[in-house]
């Protein structure tokens, strides 16, 4: 007996012996993720946070610590205005994506049958090309010389002004860009949803919409929140869509922020704006998180 154990230990390689240590094992799996987060998330955040308390002079960052950038952001109406405008835009786009995406996801999950996967991939088909290309494509549909207005001109009608370089055309672009996220998030949630519960609700007197509101909506709220966040956050931070589709008066917070790192070269100000943007995103996620009560979502535990 004793002899055999010795042989086993001798036969064991260095690597497996090292791996018997629990700390080593945990480190092996946790370290890469930690390193990734540190290099690509924490480090840039820290640098932006630091820069935001510096100032820029003639395109050069000068490390004298001050809060001037933040004072500017919160006292000058222009910055607040663009922030509010972006928040409004993101809320509007999220709402439209929700209204439009929920029925699509519901249909695919409930009625899709064996075509579910294909239908889902089709909703994400625009993702097969780059974001910029997609926005340009949108420009070619909605713009003054786009398909829509060319068609209207051909049949002798006036172009639709409200779709040419306006906030509305930006929002259409945003919805087009991000709605696959919404559909996917809700779809994945509905996959685990027991549709039989709706039949139960109906037997006990709930009309279809009431059954949805009492059963489907709360039980899929987590997935819905994921979808909302995945639309809200990128819309809030985006600059390309308003640039291509929004026109002169369609600029959003993202464009102003981008300018700080581009034309005006005021990196410190840009960093401060970035920090504010991050805080807004964080607040939104936290607010949504408040609405989630796992017990109430039908999850086990607690």
């Amino acid at each position: 007996m004793l002899l055999r154990i010795e042989i086993m230990e001798k036969g064991e390689g260095l690597i497996s012996r090292v791996f018997r240590n629990r700390r080593v094992r945990i480190g092996f799996f946790v370290l890469p993720a930690t390193a990734y987060l540190f290099v690509f998330l924490i480090l840039p955040m820290i640098s932006i946070l630091i820069f935001s308390f510096w100032r820029t002079e003639r395109y050069v960052l000068i490390p004298d610590w001050n809060v001037h950038n933040y004072v500017t952001i919160f006292t000058q109406w222009a910055y607040i205005k663009f922030l509010l405008k972006s928040i409004t835009m993101a809320s509007f786009v999220s709402a439209i994506c929700l209204l439009y995406g929920y029925p699509v996801a519901y249909f695919v999950a409930k009625e899709g049958g064996r075509y579910r996967l294909i239908l889902l991939i089709l909703t994400a088909a625009p993702f097969f090309t780059g974001t910029l290309l997609r926005i340009t494509a949108m420009q070619h549909i909605l713009g003054p010389i786009g398909l829509l207005n060319m068609f209207l001109a051909n049949i002798g009608l006036a172009p639709i002004q409200v779709l040419m370089y306006t906030n509305l055309s930006s929002s259409i672009g945003f919805v087009y860009l991000w709605i696959p996220f919404m559909i996917l998030a809700i779809y994945l949630s509905l996959l685990n949803f027991d549709f039989e519960l709706l039949e139960v609700a109906k037997i006990y007197g709930a009309k279809p919409f009431r059954a949805f509101w009492e059963i489907t909506w709360p039980l899929n709220w987590v997935g819905t929140v994921v979808g909302l966040v995945m639309v809200f956050i990128p819309t809030l931070a985006d600059n390309a869509t308003p640039l291509f589709l929004g026109g002169m008066f369609g600029k959003l917070y993202g464009n102003i922020l981008f300018n700080q790192f581009g034309e005006s070269g005021t990196w410190a100000m840009g960093s401060a704006m970035g920090v504010v943007l991050f805080l807004v995103c964080f607040a939104v996620i936290a607010a949504f998180g408040q609405t989630i009560n796992l017990k109430r979502m039908g999850y086990f535990g607690g």
Binding site: D194, E196, L197, E199, V200, A201, K202, I203, Y204, G205, A206, K207, R210, E214, I215, P218, L219, K295, R296, M297, G298, F300
Partner: protein, 358 residues
């Protein structure tokens, strides 16, 4: 009380693609009746319930609830209740919220909801469970809550779709009694769907036997148990021995069947001709067993291969001379002492059997 028909099905038929799930069924369920629908899985029992509840629309026929044609009514206008095998409680709602759901949907006032909740929680013996969530309940508790949800609004009919199938044996026995008690106390007609004949026989007043979407036999449970009309009914209800063979002789009041070289007398059945194959069912408890049987019409010899203790009775497994194996149930207090490998005689009177040529 006048016996009124609460639920009536007239020539109801439903197909899914090429599969006929329910085939021209006529059925009436009366006030205060415990009605069981018994059939093997896939026989169309559940579809039948779903048609009554309004979850499926029949291709043909009518559904009447309290003399009103509800065939095209949606489920939420039928005022029925349903209890499912998988309980189907709303996982995000507490016990109290689950139970008062039908009352809320029907627009009852808060006070009324509270009152009914209290009453029904006492009925199912779970007072104090109001704030628990379904995942905090045991299987039996879940099914009690589901029953409470079904009963709280006093539906016109309560349908139960294999409600005890997910519970373990002990609990099932206990719940059988409980479910029966609820039904008697409230007088609401129950339609109880099951593939478990024991359950159906224990609880119901009347029984419908269903196979491949068609009704085989409907009637009083004892009637079906003692006088099955088809070989399916005879084989499915109760536990029987099946003897199958050719009719070799027709006597005045019996057929003589050749069962693997054993001659067995069976009651006559319509249309039986010499040379036809006949199926004979004899309930295991209608068989006699002894060292030397006297005055019994069919007797044969065999060897006791095993005796299985079942509580109040014992199942003796007997191998006949022609190597066929049959079961004979005897009361535990039976005076005949039988050991394994004993040579015995097995027998029964002609009229104890049920013969069919279908």
């Amino acid at each position: 009380m006048m016996e009124k028909t609460v639920v009536r099905l007239e020539q109801v038929r439903k197909t899914f693609g090429r599969v006929v799930a329910v085939d021209r069924i006529d059925l009436g369920v009366k006030t205060g009746e415990f009605f069981a629908v018994l059939g093997p899985s896939g026989s169309g029992k559940t579809t039948l319930l779903r048609i009554i509840a309004g979850l499926e629309t029949p291709d043909q026929g009518r559904v009447l609830i309290e003399d009103e044609d509800v065939t095209l009514y949606p489920p939420y206008e039928r005022y029925t209740g349903m209890v499912f095998q998988e309980f189907a409680l709303f996982p995000h709602k507490t016990v109290a919220e689950n139970i008062i759901f039908p009352l809320r949907m029907q627009g009852h006032l808060k006070d009324e909801q509270e009152k009914q909740l209290k009453w029904v929680l006492n009925l199912i013996k779970l007072p104090g469970y109001e704030d628990r969530f379904p995942h905090q309940l045991s299987g039996g508790e879940k099914q009690r809550v589901a029953l409470a949800r079904g009963l709280v609004s006093r539906p016109k009919v309560l349908m139960l779709d294999e409600p005890l199938a997910n519970l373990d044996r002990e609990l099932r026995k206990e719940m059988e009694v409980e479910v029966r008690r609820f039904q008697l106390e409230l007088g609401i007609p129950f339609i109880y769907v099951t593939h478990n004949q024991e359950e159906a026989l224990t609880m119901s007043d009347r029984l419908a036997l269903i196979k491949d979407g068609s009704l085989v036999q409907v009637g009083d449970k004892l009637e079906i148990y003692n006088h099955p009309k088809t070989s399916f009914a005879a084989g499915f209800v109760g536990s029987s021995n099946l003897f199958e063979g050719e009719i070799v002789e027709i006597e005045d009041d019996a057929f003589v069947m050749d069962y693997k070289d054993l001659k067995i007398r069976t009651p006559k059945c319509e249309g039986g001709q010499k040379g036809d194959t006949v199926k004979l069912f004899v309930k295991t408890e209608h068989m006699e067993l002894g060292k030397q049987l006297k005055g019994i019409e069919n007797t044969m010899e065999g060897i006791v291969r095993d005796s299985i203790f079942k509580g109040q009775y014992v199942d003796h497994i007997i191998e006949l001379k022609n190597k066929a194996v049959i079961t004979v149930s005897r009361n535990i207090s039976d005076r005949v002492q039988i050991k394994r490998e004993d040579m015995v005689q097995v027998g029964w009177n002609i009229q104890a059997g049920h013969a069919f040529t279908d």
